[in-house]
Symmetry: C2
Subunit: 489 residues, 2 copies
């Protein structure tokens, strides 16, 4: 056994233990008895402790120093293991434990504050979280940018400046497009109620249509839809709302996109450091292209209308163009997770600028709500009406996720690049989608993105797949063309 | 922090990781996608490796040497941790790994051999398993009895001689009772088909009637019913068969008995070495007294008849005495898991004598089928018709479970002792059971057995609870009285 082989064997067990932690998370959100919550948090802490100890095990350092990668994939394995090892080395255990304790408390306080519409009740603990994450970021950055160091956890090899360059170019065009669209008459949306069992049944059918492998996964209901697991066990959840079947169906397609990435990774990378999606942004590119560029296309919604009428009977919309307009309806709102394809990115940019300023020390927690509300009014044209529609709407900051938000919009940017290339690679894509056939599209995505797992760096895999350096051009062109046509601009 | 405190903190994490392993087992038997099996076996191996390393961690030895228990419970904590530590020290890692690999292979070969009715295809690998378990037993026994050392894993502080003394006294009376019963006319059983959804619904109701706490558990379907987990997350499974609702209902009550033990342990023992049932035998005493002495009593079946008629309509039996006779019908058969209360123990005694002789080297694997068939004909009065009804019926030996079988019958013996004491403690028990009220009985069992977890040794907890040294007398008196009355002996 060489040092490289030893390290791979050790990593294989670590990856298996990581899968177990993911499975516990799935269990918690789907089937766990509610009385088990406190015990589960101890179980999670125990397995996370094991994982941390393994990632920072001194033997890993020795193996990394001695290992000779046999090939390109082997070099990528070492790159990923080294990244986790160095990260684990840099953050003192006491700080990591304090972050875990504080964010656990902060999440509860956030939920209560949101229910009570009471920002003041949340700010003190948010202040603690911000301070701890700045401390962690400083430990990771070793003199560099705190925010960049935190982004690295979710989108490796991408900096705040990289993201700002893209977002700053996007924002004016999105604000202008949004204003023009909302100046036009609105199409009708769905009315009526839709049987929740039938929604789940149609969801499962659509999941299969998009290539989700049910022998290596399953579909359940959860409060917040998510995808979980890698390799041979990749599960998704969705949710149902009797008056909004699109929520269920498009949550499913979104999570199928995430799951397709994990199910699509080369089997040879299973239970290794390359055996999962390479970043949150690339992950989101898959979920978004499945959900939006494919699932919300005129061609696919034409097929979906027939499926909905078969599942629910008369849905009050018989014309495919009207149905397409209903699926893609743009309307005023406050909540990021309910935003349409066009406005979603504006929500992200707001959070990105604020959290980056927080981490840089240029914005204080005490001034955060005002900053949020000012920016919202500027971009959306109307004021935030209550904290649960503003600063308190997202869980992320309470649990210490700084640097995570921008990956959602990066995913849209990447999806735009991939979609442009996909249209060239599969010229008759619309004819296929109109038949409910996504196989050529999903096969192409598997081939150019998914199968590589973490082999290439995030922007590298998008560049190789799309044939261009990732930029905001394609997603903006796509949005302007789509919504321009829909709204007769 | 004292050495004792350090050890408790370390054990708490180990217990939490042990709960995770149990949760994975539940997942595998209930919700896991079938394509995930190979990955799951690596995940299980990884978590088992972590657990083994923690149980045999040199620091545990140091803490054990230095720890001063603050009280009786503390001393019991040390006793249980020491037992696991010494066991882990004695078995070489290479042997443990070889046993894991071989039994994994043997289980597959056993399943195929059973399907093919081909004993010869199974014996070679069984020979390997027997040799490995004898080696493991010898390592554990350090000069003592190999079989006793293996029993210790399932029923601590109980020897093969202890068990043989009880079983040898039971067997003639059971054989005689069985022969007398089968000489009498048989009561009618159930006919017809029973909706499986309604079976599950009634199962859940009965689980609650027996005190199962659904906020800390859940009921699902699985091929083989089981109970899983400790403390705040104790899940059970059952199964349905359209023509045999008793299978579903009594499997549920049986598993609720196991779950009640785990849910009933004092919360102060949670995630500690005392935080679960102390032995398989004591565990089985709880499942059996719930299932048989309570669930199959004349009083309770009177209530159950009303519930079945409410759930399924006319079931063809309207008279409570006839229903009681149908529930407790004794009939010829081959399969242990389908055996009635009376004959079950004879199946166990057969296996106990054979496996004890195998471990002692007094019986060879080549002679095992003949020995099985001879003994079966002696005790049951008719020959085994095919291997799947004989030597190949149980999974246990293929997976290396030698010393486990006797705990099933020990559980019946313990249940007999507890039942005698329960009748004295709750004189109007039958009047309560006739109303579907098990609360006095389950409260008593929680108080005298369940809440103690692993505080007392197995036979000690039964002796304290029942006020007598455990013996075969009560279960035999109970069976002779019950079946004597049912069959007019």
């Amino acid at each position: 056994m060489t040092a490289f082989d030893d390290l791979m064997a050790f990593q294989r067990e670590t990856s298996a233990l990581g899968q177990i932690a993911g499975r516990l998370g799935w269990d918690q959100e789907t089937v766990m008895p509610r009385g088990a919550a406190a015990q589960r948090s101890e179980e999670m802490a125990a397995i996370e402790g094991v994982l941390h100890a393994r990632r920072s095990d001194p033997r890993v350092g020795e193996w990394l120093a001695a290992a000779e990668p046999p090939d390109e994939a082997g070099a990528a394995q070492l790159r990923e293991i080294r990244r986790a090892f160095e990260r684990a080395q840099k953050v003192p255990g006491a700080l990591a434990a304090q972050i875990a304790r504080t964010t656990s408390r902060a999440q509860g306080l956030w939920a209560q504050a949101r229910a009570d519409e009471d920002v003041a009740a949340f700010l003190p603990v948010l202040e603690e979280v911000v301070a701890l994450k700045r401390e962690e970021g400083a430990a990771l950055a070793a003199g560099g940018s705190v925010y960049d160091a935190l982004v690295e956890d979710y989108e490796p090899h991408t900096t705040g400046d990289d993201i700002a360059a893209i977002f700053d170019a996007m924002r004016p065009r999105l604000v202008a497009l949004r204003a023009a669209v909302l100046d036009r008459p609105q199409p009708a949306g769905l009315t009526g109620t839709y049987d929740e069992g039938a929604q789940m049944k149609l969801s499962r059918k659509i999941a299969k249509v998009f290539g989700y492998d049910m022998t290596r996964g399953r579909v359940d209901k959860a409060v917040h839809p998510f995808s979980s697991g890698s390799g041979a066990d990749v599960r998704i959840t969705t949710r149902t709302n009797p008056s909004d079947p699109f929520n269920c169906l498009y949550s499913t397609i979104h999570e199928v996109g995430h799951a397709a990435y994990e199910q699509g990774v080369d089997a040879g990378f299973a239970l290794s450091a390359l055996g999962q999606g390479v970043s949150m942004g690339v992950h989101e590119s898959q979920s978004r292209i499945y959900e939006n560029q494919l699932g919300r296309s005129r061609a696919f919604t034409g097929w979906l209308l027939g499926e909905m009428r078969a599942a629910f009977g008369d849905i009050g919309i018989a014309d495919p163009d009207a149905f397409y307009a209903a699926v893609n309806r743009v309307h005023n709102g406050y909540i990021r997770t309910e935003a349409d394809e066009l406005q979603y990115n504006l929500h992200i940019m707001l959070r990105f600028d604020l959290e980056r300023a927080l981490m840089a020390g240029d914005l204080q927690v005490a001034d955060l709500e005002t900053a949020w509300n000012d920016r919202f009014a500027t971009d959306f044209g109307y004021p935030v009406d209550k904290p649960s529609n503003g600063l308190l709407q997202d869980v992320h900051w309470s649990v210490g996720l700084f640097g995570y938000f921008p990956t959602y919009a990066l995913g849209n940017v990447y999806a735009g690049c991939l979609h442009e290339a996909l249209r060239k690679a599969v010229p008759d894509l619309d004819a296929q989608l109109a038949q409910g056939d996504t196989s050529a599209a999903t096969r192409w995505l598997r081939d150019v993105v998914q199968r590589h797992g973490s082999l290439y760096l995030p922007r590298e895999v998008i560049e190789r797949a799309s044939g261009q350096v990732p930029s905001e051009g394609p997603i903006l062109n796509y949005l302007e063309a789509k919504f321009g046509a829909l709204y007769g601009l």
